[in-house]
Amino acid sequence: MMASDDAPLLIAEGLTKWYGRQPGCRDVSFSLHAGEVIAVVGESGSGKSTLLQLLSAQIEASSGRVLYRMRDGATRDLASLGEAERRLLARTDWGYVHQDATLGLRMAVSAGANVGERLMAVGERHYGRIRGAALGWLDRVEIDRGRVDDSPRTYSGGMRQRLQIARNLVTAPRLIFMDEPTGGLDVSVQARLLDLLRGLVADLELSVVVVTHDLAVARMLSHRMIVMKGGQVVETGLTDQVLDDPCEAYTQLLVASILPP
């Protein structure tokens, strides 16, 4: 996991976003290395989703910056990239898993086309190879090959989420952003998805920023945690450190509020 060249993949420096006079996210700094999974936790309105949008260059920061180490090894300020470069990054080297799979999928085309489309976007034109890759990825996310030509409209919530993951991973990205990836799923479906994600993240040595309000999800997926409240970071550390030995009052409240099964 500790890459031989030890430069971080992503660095956030003093990231701040104001919505009018309302702070969305204030002065957030951290770095993410290859193979590292960071969970950003907090309640609604804590600024965790704003942070994810800032990191993935979907919105512009009021101040601060995001640096990213490109595939050629050069570290670039995301704000300095042209629109085309940013789009290329977003559909090749990055993935984005939405809570609502319909935002991350194209519901009008088949499952196979959903996976294949990302490959075509990076120049793959050979139909056989695209279909082969799509089928391989359906296997990997445990979707029956027989469903490859069906529209994701006919899929269950859990299957849609797994298809969305396949669509993201087909271009071998190095960094995945996840926004409440298990939100709204039944618990058994959630467990299966978490297990799948854990395996994929480890096997592919992905770096992940996962936003969740669910501390159990953070415990299972992440190495490190960032706890946010009111747009600010209140506590950071190793995941088990933050959950087993929380220092700040707010983190203690969050941890103490988990209902035991």
Partner: protein, 232 residues
């Protein structure tokens, strides 16, 4: 004797913000060292901070004061001051920890729970599974259970899966929190043998064991934790 682990002046307290900010002192000024091939047993009544100390060495509890010096190859790393990535690196190749209870992950088969630390360290999955199977067999876990997630296992079975997971990688430091607490005599014997083997291979072990018979057989040194009780 080569030192593997050294604790210098470790102090720890919890501040309970939800209880009006009261401070609970856990330990103060804990100082001891463990050499390679040596087993140190922490002794003292419940609540004296034994498990907390193991968690501090493993890095899942923070320290307020002091240094926890761990030998990693030629490097010496202070867990109390190390950044998260360094602590994770230590857990991948240096420090093993058998907790009191297995934290079961849904859907993951017992054999993969056991093999996971080896796989994370780069061992091919097939080989890691074979070694996991051998250790599970030694700990008398029926082969019919290997493919099942341990969440539904009995307490003793879960603990043996946990022991197998902790003992499988050949780490130079092992932390054991009540490894034999829920085991019958036969399995207890297996664990005592495993500990002896690890010591012969040079592992430094810090253990919490209440059973005096087991303690007498594994301990090279017993540390009375009441010595480090913090002045409340």
């Amino acid at each position: 004797m080569t030192l593997a682990l050294e604790l210098v002046g470790i102090g720890k307290s919890f501040t309970m913000h939800l209880q009006g900010g009261i401070r609970l002192s856990v330990v103060a000024d804990v100082t001891f060292a463990v050499s390679r091939g040596e087993c140190v047993v922490l002794a003292g009544p419940s609540g004296v901070g034994k498990s907390s100390l193991l968690k501090m060495i493993f890095g899942s509890y923070r320290c307020d004061r002091g240094r926890i010096l761990v030998q990693r190859g030629a490097q010496q790393i202070d867990v109390a001051a190390a950044d998260p990535r360094r602590i994770l690196a230590l857990r991948r190749d240096t420090i093993g920890y058998v907790s009191q209870f297995l934290r079961a992950v849904p859907r993951v088969a017992a054999i993969d729970v056991v093999a996971e630390p080896l796989v994370a360290g780069g061992t091919p999955r097939d080989l890691a599974r074979r070694e996991a199977a051998e250790l599970l067999r030694r700990l008398n876990i029926a082969g019919s259970l290997w493919g099942l997630p341990p969440a539904t296992f009995s307490g003793g079975e879960q603990q043996r899966v946990n022991i197998a997971r902790g003992f499988l990688p050949n780490f130079p430091i092992l932390l054991l929190d009540e490894p034999t607490a829920s085991l019958d005599a036969r399995n207890c014997e297996v664990v005592v043998d495993l500990i002896a083997e690890r010591k012969r291979r040079g592992a430094a072990i810090v253990a919490i064991v209440h059973d005096e018979a087991v303690r007498d057989r594994i301990a090279d040194d017993v540390i009375d934790m009441t010595r480090f009780a913090a002045a409340a």
